[in-house]
Structure formats: structure tokens, C-alpha cells
């Protein structure tokens, strides 16, 4: 009798266990289910892992039994780790990580670190932040998130300026890889499409010890999305009011129909993504097509500058600034094959085509193409070692496209070929050693070496680097790194770095020293261009790299809903490569003579209050002490950005109202004009002043059933337009309304 009863009990309990194996994952604050979260089960003894994810209703089932570890993670939430004691039906909760402190970042150390543990303050911009404001290009994103960052328009295109640093000191990477193709030392920002950005990591300061050339003032690393769900589709579109309709009554039989219609393209962005993640294979395809119309800004008045001591007035007549229009498309593909938990193969490729339309009716326009492909193998033979071998090839082409002939002519080709090998060894959970070797082959074909014919040059760099990451005590972390670059023209350059981080309760104090450098570009090395017999621009094969010493100290406080950090830094630049007039103004020679010091302070804040509101912002103060005479493109000492968001989350409805502002402080600098005075040519110096200004944006974003979202926004609500337009002022065309829709399966 007893036996039958026990047997029955066991039987029933077994059925009960089998039935109530289902678990639910909810958001701790809203109690809403979290779909597609990552669940990892690890068997402690055998160190095997199994993965699953929550379904659309937040439910999942146990894959392992007692004495295994369960880890639940999802972007925007703190990771939950626990040991399974009983296989019972349970509700798990994830706490929203509004401050992203537990988000994994890679840029600061080239290895995985939680944001709060990154040795150099890393700024993180998540995909959600990009999507909520309806941003569709990286310039909009960086403008809004980094104080003291401006994209200025100059003759050749767009020039970045971040807290006094120019494009030569900022390294922009996609998934840790360098980009080929430059326009005036700037990469083609149009290649960066927001719909496939997972997150952007920004590390300020010199990082040449990890990334080599150009990482002198900052690294902006754009991490692209991978597919997590079994199958997903995203389709989106954004349309914004035209910047300026140049030819509103254009007729199809107009002689210049092609030229005129291309200046008035729609301000549009269409994108689609397709992803899958089935067993061992996952992949993602992204497609973006976008266009923008060209517009002109006219100075409001002629400028009269009085040089009182010589009783002369210089007149700068009101000029027109042309901002080009464009249309482009990008298609990219990522594939991953997981042989096992230890071995993984990744491959990626992308194609980009961009046409740029300017206000020159000269029967031709610029066409830029880019082809990038790469692959990597990740091998983790055991828990301690992580090896990665990869290569990346990026080729950027520039053509003149002749409209009337339907032909094109190549005038520029730049190739970056970069194989890498990196090994990360976890000595123990307090000590990690990283080491690696790289090779960079850079090739440039251009008509700018000699000015009349297209010629090619190339350089190679061999690299070795090492980094030691030790937790000296529970509170003190020390990272020391060294990188040796051997360049085919200037030889060896060593870049060291040291970072110390001290954790005390909710505070983190960081001290950083690093050396940065920039290899001379192929143009700076090999240029020999005689301009119309007037003067020659000459490079020098013996140029040394520019180098800098960077020192910074920062303090960060994080507690519950508040995160604030302040960073003070000093950046000493030397051997800057500048053009110098020689031989009675007949030769413009590139030499290493410039030096300058950049001192600054950056303050970042994030605060969530009253459950629905969050406020974030930053302030930057920069002292730019340049040794060159003429400070043409300067940054304002004071700059700030600010954002306030109201967020409402219901079961089937999400609302986000965001007001953001970018404040640019006053600019003061001196420049000169050559004036013929009293029989001779003299330089007359005068002061230029630009008033501070701010640009405000509003966006209202609604999401229904977590699938369909609609954003209506107004860019530049206050309709700010600069009175005088040059590379020191804003090229914002004025108030524009946009609508953005997005559907995801």
C-alpha cells in the first residue's frame, strides 16, 4: 500500500514537473514580458553550455537541471546570473540597466569589459537612443550625443571637429576595422547607416597602443547589429521636408533636366533588414537607400572690418555657400557559423554606391563606390584562452561620371588590407593578458600625386602589441599596454599607455596616460603637384609621424538612477605635419613643425527621475593653444548638449517624447587679410567673433505592439540659421519636419 502511494506521488510530481517547466521573463519595473532575451545554461562540472531565448511572450524552458548556472541577458538590462536549484516554474526578472553600466563594451581594451569597468571612460550610444529620435545618419547621432562635436562643411565636403580635435586625430572604425577612402582626411560619413548600428562606443584620448595611427584624440567605434532572433525583418523609412527646392517648376524637356532634377531629390531614407539565427548559422542582410537635396545658404550681409590703426576698411562681400545633395545605397551581409562552443567563423561584405550632386552644371558628377569584405575565426580552446584571426579589406573608389556620355573615369582608389591576430589569455579572473600582431597594407591611386595623371603609391605597416590587465587589489585595476608599429617609410614607432582605475563604493577614479601618433598619409609623403606653373605642392618621404602625449584624470559616480562623470585632460601634439611656404612662395612643402596643446574638461550626466523622465547631457570646455598663426577653423571653448525624455511604457503601447538641444558657445579667433596699403602688401590682423547659438529638436515616437513605430519630429524648432556661413558656423537650413515609420517582425 505504502509503495503504491509513493509511486503515485512520484508519478504525479513527475507530471507536475514536466508540465510546470515553463518560465517567464519579465521586466522588473514594468512587469512586461521580455522577448528574445538570451538564456545561457552552463553545466558547472563539464563546462558545457546550451543556449536558448525567450519567445514573444517572455517564456522559456529549462535546458539543464540541478546545479547548473543560468545567465539571462538582454540589451538594456542588467545580466541575471544564478544557480538552478529546482526545475520549477518560475518568474524571472531583469532590472533595466538605464545607465548601460552592464553593457559589454570592447573599444577601451579590445576585449569584453562591462561599461562600468572600462579603464578609459567609454561613452555608449545604444540603438534605442538612435531609433527613438528618428536619427538616420551618424552625424545627427554624434552631434546630439557628444558635446563640442561639429560637422563643418568646407569646399571638399564634411570635416569633423570634436573638442578641438580635427579629423586627423580621430579614428572612426566599423566593428573595430579601419575605413578606406578619405575626402580631406575625413572618411565618407555617408557610409555609416544607422539602421544596422547596434551601438556606438566612444573612447576619448590617445588609443594608439591598441589601434595605431590616428587614434590621437579619440576613437569612435561603430558596432553593427547581429541577428539574435530565429527570424526577423525590419523595414523603415524616413522622409524630411526638402532643404531647398531649387527648380520647383522643372519641365521634363528642359535642356538641363538631369542636372536640375538631381539637385532637388527627396530628403529620404529607406531601409530594410533581414536576419536569421537557426542552430549553428546566423546571418543578417541590411539595405539602405537614401537621398538628400542640395541647398544654398547666402550670407545675410557684407562684412565690413575696420582696421583702425591704419584707417582702412576691409570688405568681405556676402557669399553663397553650396551644400551638395546626394543619393546612395548600401547593401551589407553578415554570416556566422558556430562549429561548436569553441569555434566560430564570421564573414561579412558590403557594397556602397554614392552619387554627389553639386551646383556646378559641368556635365559631370562625383560617384563613390566602396567594397568591403572580411572574415574572422574565433577559437576558444578552453575557458582561459580566446584566439581570433581575421582579415578585412576595404576598397574605396572615386569616379567622375559624365552625364552626357554615360561613362565614368576613375580618379581615386584607396585600399586598406588588414589581417590581424589577437590572443586574450585569462591568467585568472583578476589578470588578463592580450597580445597580437597585425599587418596593414595601404594603397592609393590618385590624380593628386602629380596633378595631371593618375599614379599609385603604397605603404605597409607591421604591428605587434601587448596589454596587461591586472586587478592589483579588489579596488585597483591597472592596465599597461605597448604597441610597436613598423612603417615602410618612417620605421619604428612605439606607443605606450597606462591606465589606473580605483573603485570606491559608487565612485570610479581613472588616470590615463597614452601616446598617440599618426602616420603621414600617402599624399603627405608622395605629393608632387605643380599647379599651373605657379607653385608646387610637395610631400616628403622622410616625414615623421605626428605624435602626441595624452594625460587625463576622471571621476565617475553611479548610483541607482544617476550617473555623472568629469574628465580633465591635456593633449600635447608635436611634429604636426603642416604645409609650409618655401622658395619665395613657389613651393608648398609638407613638414613636421607644428605643435599645439589642447587642454580640456568634459562633463557627462545621465539622470532618471519620476519614473518617466530622464535627462542627459554633456558639457565640454576646451583651450586650444595653437602655434600656427592663422586659426581658421576653430572650435568654441564652450559647448554643451542636453536632452530630456518622457517615456511611457504600456503593454501594447510605448510613447517617447524627446526634446534635445545642442549649444555652441561663442567663437573668437584672429585672422588676417593681405591688403595693398601704401604701396606694399601687408598682413592686417583682425578679430572675428561668432555669437553662441543653440539648435533645438523635438521628436515624438510611438510604438504599437512593439512592432510598429511612428516618429514625428521637428529638427531645428527655433529655425536657427547662421547669418554668415563658413566653416566656423552652422549650415543648418532651418526648421524642417520629418516623419519616420518602422516595422519589425
Amino acid at each position: 500500500m505504502k509503495h503504491i502511494f509513493t509511486l503515485l506521488l512520484l508519478h504525479i510530481s513527475a507530471i507536475l514537473i514536466a508540465q510546470s517547466n515553463k518560465c517567464i521573463l519579465l521586466d522588473k519595473e514594468s512587469n512586461l514580458p521580455i522577448a528574445y532575451a538570451n538564456i545561457c545554461f552552463e553545466n558547472i562540472e563539464e563546462t558545457t553550455k546550451q543556449y536558448t531565448s525567450t519567445s514573444i511572450d517572455g517564456s522559456f524552458e529549462y535546458l539543464m537541471g540541478n546545479n547548473s548556472i543560468i545567465a539571462i541577458s538582454y540589451v538594456g538590462y542588467k545580466t541575471y546570473i544564478d544557480t538552478i536549484h529546482q526545475l520549477e516554474s518560475k518568474t524571472f526578472y531583469l532590472i533595466p540597466d538605464f545607465l548601460n553600466l552592464e553593457q559589454v563594451v570592447v573599444t577601451a581594451t579590445r576585449s569584453n569589459k562591462l561599461l562600468k569597468d572600462a579603464p578609459v571612460i567609454t561613452q555608449l550610444i545604444s540603438a534605442k537612443r538612435i531609433e527613438d529620435q528618428g536619427f538616420t545618419n551618424v552625424q545627427e547621432v554624434l552631434n546630439a550625443e557628444i558635446p563640442g562635436l561639429e560637422f563643418q562643411t568646407v569646399g571638399f565636403g564634411t570635416d569633423i571637429n570634436m573638442q578641438g580635435l580635427n579629423s586627423k586625430n580621430i579614428l572612426i572604425l566599423i566593428d573595430g576595422e579601419q575605413m578606406a577612402g578619405e575626402n580631406g582626411n575625413n572618411i565618407d560619413y555617408s557610409r555609416l547607416n544607422t539602421n544596422n548600428i547596434e551601438r556606438i562606443e566612444i573612447v576619448k584620448g590617445a588609443s594608439s597602443a591598441l589601434y595605431g595611427s590616428q587614434a590621437m584624440g579619440g576613437v569612435i567605434n561603430i558596432i553593427t547589429k547581429s541577428s539574435r532572433k530565429k527570424f526577423d525583418i525590419q523595414i523603415g523609412g524616413k522622409i524630411k521636408a526638402n532643404n531647398q527646392l531649387n527648380y520647383p517648376e522643372l519641365k521634363k524637356d528642359d535642356d538641363d533636366y538631369f542636372y536640375k532634377s538631381k539637385l532637388d531629390l527627396l530628403n529620404l531614407n529607406l531601409n530594410a533588414s533581414l536576419g536569421f539565427n537557426i542552430n549553428k548559422i546566423s546571418g543578417r542582410t541590411d539595405f539602405t537607400a537614401k537621398s538628400s537635396d542640395a541647398y544654398q545658404l547666402i550670407d545675410a550681409y557684407d562684412q565690413y572690418i575696420d582696421i583702425t590703426n591704419v584707417d582702412t576698411t576691409i570688405i568681405i562681400p556676402a557669399a553663397t555657400t553650396n551644400i551638395d545633395g546626394y543619393e546612395d545605397f548600401t547593401i551589407s551581409q553578415k554570416l556566422k557559423y558556430k562549429f561548436s562552443n569553441k569555434l566560430e567563423l564570421n564573414a561579412n561584405g558590403s557594397f556602397y554606391k554614392h552619387n554627389r550632386y553639386d551646383f556646378h552644371n559641368d556635365n559631370k558628377y562625383d560617384n563613390f563606390n566602396d567594397i568591403t569584405y572580411g572574415a574572422s575565426i574565433n577559437y576558444k580552446p578552453n575557458k582561459k584562452l580566446n584566439l581570433r584571426a581575421s582579415f578585412n579589406s576595404d576598397t574605396y573608389y572615386k569616379y567622375y561620371y559624365f552625364e552626357k556620355l554615360d561613362e565614368k573615369e576613375l580618379n581615386y582608389k584607396n585600399i586598406f588590407f588588414n589581417p590581424k591576430l589577437i590572443g586574450i589569455y585569462n591568467v585568472n579572473n583578476k589578470h588578463t593578458l592580450t597580445s597580437g600582431a597585425e599587418f596593414l597594407h595601404e594603397y592609393l591611386l590618385t590624380d593628386k600625386f602629380t596633378g595631371d595623371t593618375v599614379t599609385a603609391k603604397s605603404v605597409n605597416t607591421s604591428v605587434m602589441f601587448a596589454q596587461d590587465d591586472i586587478d592589483i587589489t579588489n579596488n585597483i585595476n591597472l592596465i599597461a599596454g605597448l604597441r610597436a608599429d613598423y612603417h615602410s617609410t618612417f620605421g619604428l614607432h612605439i606607443s605606450p599607455k597606462v591606465s589606473i582605475m580605483y573603485k570606491y563604493k559608487n565612485h570610479r577614479f581613472r588616470l590615463n596616460y597614452a601616446n598617440g601618433f599618426r602616420s603621414p598619409t600617402l599624399k603627405e609623403l608622395y605629393m608632387n603637384w605643380n599647379l599651373l606653373g605657379m607653385f608646387t605642392i610637395k610631400g616628403d618621404e622622410n616625414l615623421q609621424p605626428e605624435s602626441n602625449q595624452y594625460l587625463s584624470a576622471s571621476a565617475e559616480y553611479s548610483h541607482k538612477n544617476l550617473n555623472g562623470s568629469v574628465n580633465i585632460y591635456n593633449n600635447w601634439f608635436k611634429n604636426k605635419i603642416v604645409g609650409e611656404w618655401q622658395d619665395n612662395q613657389t613651393v608648398y612643402q609638407y613638414v613636421n613643425v607644428g605643435h599645439s596643446t589642447l587642454t580640456g574638461l568634459e562633463f557627462l550626466l545621465k539622470y532618471r527621475f519620476l519614473k518617466y523622465f530622464n535627462i542627459s547631457g554633456g558639457y565640454s570646455y576646451v583651450i586650444d593653444q595653437r602655434n600656427d598663426e592663422n586659426q581658421m577653423a576653430s572650435s568654441s571653448p564652450h559647448a554643451a548638449n542636453f536632452r530630456i525624455e518622457y517615456g511611457l511604457s504600456k503593454k501594447f503601447y510605448n510613447l517617447n517624447i524627446i526634446i534635445s538641444s545642442k549649444i555652441t558657445g561663442a567663437k573668437n579667433y584672429s585672422t588676417y587679410k593681405d591688403v595693398f596699403y601704401q604701396g606694399d602688401f601687408t598682413k592686417f590682423w583682425y578679430n572675428v567673433h561668432y555669437d553662441p547659438y543653440s539648435i533645438w529638436n523635438l521628436s515624438i515616437s510611438q510604438k504599437i505592439y512593439n512592432r510598429f513605430s511612428l516618429i514625428i519630429g521637428i529638427d531645428n524648432i527655433l529655425d536657427y540659421k547662421a547669418e554668415i556661413i563658413n566653416f566656423n558656423t552652422s549650415i543648418n537650413p532651418g526648421r524642417r519636419v520629418f516623419v519616420s515609420v518602422r516595422y519589425e517582425l
Binding site: 569646399g155 535642356d255 562681400p317 557669399a319 553663397t320 553650396n322 551646383f359 556646378h360 552644371n361 559641368d362 556635365n363 559631370k364 567622375y400 559624365f402 552626357k404 556620355l405 573615369e409 599651373l532 605657379m534 593681405d674 595693398f676 602688401f681
Partner: protein
Amino acid sequence: MTKFKLTTVLFLAAILSITACKKDEENNDDNTDSSTLKTGTVTLSKSEMYKDDWVYFSFASGKEVNGIDSTNFNSRTDWDIAFHSRLGRTNGGNSGVGNAGVFDTEITDYSSIIHVDTNLLMSDTTVQLITGIGNMGPTYKTVAGNTTFDSAFDVDYTQHPPTYTATKNTFVLRTADGKYAKIQIQSYFDEYGKSGHITFKYAYQTNGSTDLK
């Protein structure tokens, strides 16, 4: 026998020539105005910057005329108009021994200009040719030319390089030998986007009347 053959051949030749002539006349009768109005589109070569060497064009041939330079242009009769960058000259007035003159109708609808009002045609005087760019800015030389062509392009010198936008005004002309034509300057660039290649379409009335239909 030979004499007979010769006569036959001559007779046949005569008939053939008469009928051939008749055919030509018939052709002439059928296409009255269009056959005497010669049209075309031309892209001229580029004149060298800063040098006083112009590119000369003749309507009669529909082509550039070679061998004319600053020493002989004002004694030659085989050219009608000439260009140097955006400057223009006609073979008349101060620029040459011909009877040429030009007038800007300021009308962009090219096909609507069907008549030349000879009273409005302006003769050449002088224009300023840029000979170089020094410390003080551009230096100029005064040469023969027609200022009417100034309105062929809107040039924005504040851009680098300057932007040349053709106004598409229709210009009416008298040629060196007193015939009439109209031109519309389309572009400052050739099909490869190279600057300084004046591209225009023209209609030239070979029968000497002021009718441009």
C-alpha cells in the same frame, strides 16, 4: 560608228544632267526655308588661360577656324565669332574687318526667335582679359571684344572653382559677310566636365535674309 556613239553618249549625258538639275530644283522647292537654315551644336576647344589666344568659329563651315591668333584676327574675314573663356567677340567693330554684330534677346525659348532685328545689333568694343593672378588679385589687359556676351553666363567667383551657369539667353547675330544667325550658349563645359569649352547651338541663315525659321 564612233561618231554615232559619241553623239549618243553626249545626248544621254545631257539628259542626265538636266534631270539631275531638275531633281535638285525639286528638292529646293520642297524644303524651302529649312534647307537654307543650317543648324548644329558645337563644343569649342579651350583657349589657354591668361594668354590672348581666342578660339574662332565660322558659321559657313560650322567648325573652328585654325591659324588665327592675336596678330591676324582683325584682318581675317573667315571667322564670325570667337570665345576666350567667358569672353566673346564678333568679326566687326573693334575686333575685325567684317560686318558682324550681336544682340542679347534675353529670351531663353530658343525656338521662338525667328527673326533678327538688325537695328539692335551691337558692334564690338573692348573687354578685359585676365592675364594672371598676382598678390593683388587678377591682372587685366584690354583687348577687342563684345561686352554683349557678358550675359551668357552667371559666374559665382566666390566658389572654388567658380561656378558657371549658362543663362540660356538667345543671341542674334550678323556674321562677318552680312548673313544672319542665332546662337544659344548651353554650357561652359564639354562632355567630360572640362571647363572653358564653350558649347552652343546655332541656326545660320545661308540665304542672307533675317528669317530664322
